[in-house]
């Protein structure tokens, strides 16, 4: 009997849906990420003495550091659940294009990052009395998180297969994600301080270039990373 493969989009959707369902039932990862994000902000508050004057300059940096740290928790967890009970082997046996596994996991990771970000932003706004609901900033957050999750999903699926596992992910991820973080911080602080768009464009362009390069490379490499 010939097994009919579901379409490209249908497989991505199935994998994404599976991750959402798992998370919905346990809510382990999201609650850990969220509490962690709040803790990071709390620590920055005392580390940097976020008084009214300092706040304007460092808000973008604090936000991105928070997202980056909380993001590694989610990435580690999202691949660890595939390793438990050899769930990944099951996915590999499915008659689907393997890159759909990558895109499914990527969308899941991205979604969880967005949820954490959407909750962090208003909390930060309330705590420090700054208005963070700025269309430009939201655009930067979407682009920056996409780049972060694109390379993070690939590296997490590598790290999870190593002996050192969750120890390894931040070490692998942070040096290669620096350009995205630098560009995202610059663009975010540009939008927050009301800079004219022409001065923010170089950072935004770099961020878009980073996203495209990383998506392309991850698409190419994912097969090599999960082949058994």
């Amino acid at each position: 009997m010939e097994i009919k493969s579901p379409g490209f989009l249908a497989s991505i959707k199935a994998i994404l849906w599976k991750d959402i369902a798992i998370e919905w039932r346990s809510r382990q990862m999201l609650s850990a990420m969220m509490i962690f994000a709040l803790l990071v902000i709390l620590i920055f508050n005392f580390a940097l003495e976020l008084d009214a004057r300092a706040r304007i300059n460092v808000t973008a940096g604090v936000l991105w550091a928070t997202f980056a740290f909380a993001g590694t928790l989610g990435l580690n967890r999202s691949m660890a659940i595939e390793k438990e009970g050899d769930a990944l082997d099951g996915l590999l046996l499915a008659p689907i294009d393997r890159s759909t596994i990558y895109f499914g996991k990527l969308l899941g990771n991205l979604l969880f990052m967005f949820v954490v970000e959407l909750i962090t932003l208003p909390v930060y706004s309330v705590l420090y009395n700054v208005n963070l609901f700025n269309a430009g900033l939201l655009l930067v957050i979407v682009l920056g998180s996409l780049g972060y999750a694109a390379v993070g999903t690939l590296l997490a699926s590598m790290a999870v297969q190593a002996r050192t596992r969750d120890l390894l992910l931040p070490v692998l991820l942070f040096p290669v994600v620096i350009p995205a973080l630098v560009a995202a911080i610059r663009a975010s602080s540009g939008f927050l301080s009301g800079l004219e768009v022409e001065f923010i464009m170089p950072s935004l362009n770099l961020l878009i270039a980073y996203d495209l390069v990383m998506l392309a490379l991850a698409y190419m490499f994912f097969d090599f990373v999960i082949e058994e």
Partner: protein, 238 residues
């Protein structure tokens, strides 16, 4: 399986060993005695010759690692992996020499050991990427998977290098560009005289030869390592 341990050192490599020693001696002599004293910065400018040569070699070594990585992913033969690790380890050392010698120069020239200039940051981030590469390899026992992941990470890491550079570049740079046109804000730039240029070119050539010799040695060592590992695996199987 072929258990030839380490085959005889090739004749060419033996000759190159001595040539590189000789070249290094001549290059050091040129740096200290042949090249003139730079008018503004004085003796410390002499760091420049080996500083740039080491940086060039570091970049070249990481590039070799990328080529080896691509070749490994296509061919899947262990020798490309051995070449990749060899290149990364050497690249780490050259880049370290580059960063430290630059720092020694920067103290008198910029009045600070360190600035957050694109070149400095890029060199450092590159160093971190390839340290992470070594950590990744340490975490994986199975040789084939280790080689595969290593190749992927070496290529991915190198692809981010220009992006890192441009992301920092958005700030103005103060690093001098001695060859080609420099930034107006660069500090510590100078015009090379012809003897300076000769010394510089000679240092580049010397470091290139030295780089090839060391890479070759490290490659042979890597092959020996692979044999040892293979024998250990076999012994464990019994």
């Amino acid at each position: 399986m072929k258990n030839d341990y380490l085959d005889e050192t090739p004749q060419l490599l033996k000759v190159l060993n001595w040539i590189s020693v000789l070249l290094l001696l001549i290059a050091s002599w040129m740096v200290f005695f042949y090249a003139p004293l730079e008018a503004v910065m004085g003796q410390v400018q002499r760091v420049f010759y080996f500083h740039v040569a080491a940086g060039w070699l570091g970049m070249a070594a990481f590039f070799v690692a990328v080529v080896a990585g691509i070749a490994y992913l296509i061919r899947r033969t262990a020798k490309w992996d051995v070449l990749g690790v060899a290149a990364v380890e050497l690249g780490l050392i050259y880049m370290f020499v580059n960063i430290v010698s630059g720092s020694i120069w920067a103290r008198p020239a910029w009045n600070s050991w360190w600035t957050w200039d694109p070149r400095l940051v890029t060199a450092t981030v590159m160093e971190l990427v390839y340290l992470a590469y070594l950590m990744l390899r340490q975490g994986i026992e199975e040789p084939e998977r280790r080689a595969r992941f290593g190749a992927v990470y070496a290529i991915l890491g190198f692809a981010t290098v220009p992006l890192t550079f441009f992301s920092i570049r958005i700030w103005r740079t103060i690093h001098p560009v001695v060859i080609g046109s420099g930034d107006a804000g660069a500090k510590g730039s100078f015009e090379m005289t012809s003897t300076m240029l000769q010394t510089f070119m000679f240092s580049l050539a010397t470091f290139t030869v030295l780089g090839i010799v060391l890479l070759w040695h490290r490659y042979r060592l890597g092959k020996l390592e692979a044999q040892v590992e293979e024998m250990r695996m076999e012994a464990l199987d019994y």
